[in-house]
Subunit: 377 residues, 2 copies
């Protein structure tokens, strides 16, 4: 870079706000790890060999070091190019450091203002479902193996019972028993018919576990066929593919984030990404309106404190981005719903799947809808 360009870059950056990341560091090497992060996430180059202006403006800056945590700030221009590079700066090569966990992100206005973020969020979906204060109700079409007609019949029963969102089980892909297009067409039509007959307002959300080069086309097809939301698996398609679907004005439907393939990022207590940061902050940056995660006490292993953290970061301030819906799932039962609402509050999407099918599906579904619609009583 010549001197003139270098000077103008410096001038442009001097007043810029900073991208801030906090990492918990195990093993007592916090200061060394902090310095390594500053270099590793930017120039990946011996700092003493870099020109002074690059050391001053591009290398990260250690803002704070305690015995257990380090806070580093970056020139937001380092994250130039969108969410992929933002996540790359925050956790790209650091993900390969043992004993480091990303526990906090502060996204500066210069970055967040360029992001659309969740299109609906809590208020948008409350309006969509005319649900002023109550939790929303979501369930999943299953089991894999059912034909499109069988899944459509199931969806109609659930819509007429008053469920808000009827999603595909996340593993329903393009299997021979229910090819994607046939399934989406049959279920979307059944939900529309059920709504028309019963006055319900359910929406169908197919699972978009599609090939990367077909995901947008599949999403468009889903919406054309009548789908009212999209279930996206960012652990598999990448968070930015979810962001691209959320940003697409032709789709303009709610985005539901599913946690498949994401577990390793959070499970190691001394590595990875804090539960709330991944399923709250990052999901919001990537445009999710609803973030599904395994609730405590279900089939999986998240602790109550981790779940509360997700709930909190789905709804805490994040630039101009609206708060979104936490959706604890994974083996939930009807009996647990009051406890779950007490734990998360009413801004929650209750997700009950298999448990509805023990006994009569319609009866169980209506019972749960009735319970949720009368929580205040």
């Amino acid at each position: 870079m010549n001197d003139e360009a270098s000077t103008s870059c410096r001038a442009a950056l001097r007043d810029a706000d900073r991208l801030v990341a906090t990492y918990r560091v195990s093993g007592g090497h916090a200061a060394a790890v902090a310095e390594a992060i500053c270099v590793e996430q930017t120039i990946e180059f011996p700092a003493d060999l870099a020109p002074q202006w690059i050391r001053d403006e591009i290398v990260g800056v250690v803002e704070l070091i305690t015995s257990e945590e380090v806070t580093v700030s970056f020139n937001p221009a380092v994250a130039g190019g969108g969410l992929v590079q933002l996540l790359n700066v925050l956790w790209g090569n650091v993900s390969l450091f043992d004993g480091v966990r990303l526990v906090g992100i502060e996204v500066p206005p210069s970055i967040s203002s360029a992001m659309r973020g969740p299109r609906f969020g809590i208020d948008g979906l409350r309006a969509r479902f005319d649900a002023t204060t109550r939790p929303l109700l979501m369930t999943a079409l299953k089991p894999m193996g059912r034909s499109p007609a069988e899944l459509a019949e199931m969806a109609a029963t659930l819509a007429m019972a008053g469920f808000d969102i009827i999603k595909d089980d996340h593993g329903l892909a393009d299997q021979p028993w229910a090819p994607r297009r046939e399934r989406m067409a049959a279920v979307a039509a059944a939900v529309h018919t059920a709504n028309a007959r019963s006055g319900s307002a359910a929406i169908y959300s197919p699972s978009l576990n599609s090939p990367a080069d077909r995901i947008l086309a599949d999403a468009r097809e889903a919406v054309e066929l009548g789908a009212g939301a999209l279930l996206v698996l960012p652990g598999l398609c990448g968070f930015d593919a979810m962001r691209a679907l959320a940003d697409d004005d032709e789709l303009a439907v709610p985005i539901i984030s599913h946690p498949a393939f994401l577990g390793a990022h959070v499970i190691h207590p001394e590595h990875g990404i804090r539960h709330g940061v991944l399923f709250g902050t990052v999901a919001r940056l990537a445009g999710a309106d609803i973030s599904i995660f395994p609730n405590y006490g279900g089939r999986f292993s998240f602790a109550p404190q981790q779940c509360a953290d997700i709930g909190a970061l789905c709804r805490s301030p994040l630039g101009q981005l609206p708060p979104i819906w936490p959706s604890p799932g994974g083996g939930m039962t009807i009996q647990r719903m009051p406890e779950i609402v007490q734990f998360y509050g009413c801004d929650v999407v209750l997700l009950v799947g298999g448990a509805l099918h023990r006994g009569d599906l319609g009866h169980n579904a209506r019972r749960l809808v009735d319970l949720v619609h009368h929580l205040d009583d």
Copy 2:
């Protein structure tokens, strides 16, 4: 599903080979975890409520249980729809189980035969670089902050010195100091000119840390501008986006996989995915010709045994897919090259970055090229 369709499905599946996954289970609950995986990765539904044919044909089957490992097989049709659903079956919701690690994958011919896999592999790149037996040499353009002209000059020096592959540092995105298109155009042109002047055959590989809805267009632009390979970050864009780039016949260039954002999948010894399975098997299924990972004894934390495992699974039999190049990097020095070749053998892409810049870049680069071209002497 009606009886006829069900019967024909059964007939179609009876002779099919199986998708096999082996998991290491910590905590002594191997049998329970095995049963849970069979259900969780398929029907996600109370098994006793599923029709008999679904239990027989869709739920996974426990093939083997020892005190520490379980092997489960799946009907390959469960993975219908491509690599996304294949990875979803192998590690989607299981990723949320604590104490479970995916340590082995056997992909049946019915799945692998439908995959293109790596386009070049070891033999293809040996032919491309006219390198009959020697390791290949790769380096990275850095540090971030350099202008397109400065990076182009650096690339020319490295090409004339005889490096095979000159890649962008993986963090070079669309920053103001070197916007993507300007950088790609300048560097590609410089490498072509250097090749023409010196008789070298270097290729330039830009970093495709692009937005999901622009990655294919950026890849096409890169190749049009003269890029000879593509650096892809599957931890950020998803493995299937890498697969889509590898499969694209208009691009038809080598694919280099970078480990950014993938660390959490391997670091926890009792969770995640075995190093060789992720950086070897999965990278190959996703079309990588070269798989970069942090070498032992560098800036990161992989152990020699984990690195050897990656080297082995880059090259062991995997359907009709060719073996690929392991590329250990992350703070490598010229002095360590003979040791690295001894460790991995000659089918290795040596990756040296910042260390080349201490002293004269051209001199250091030529010295390393000379060393590698005379390893047999």
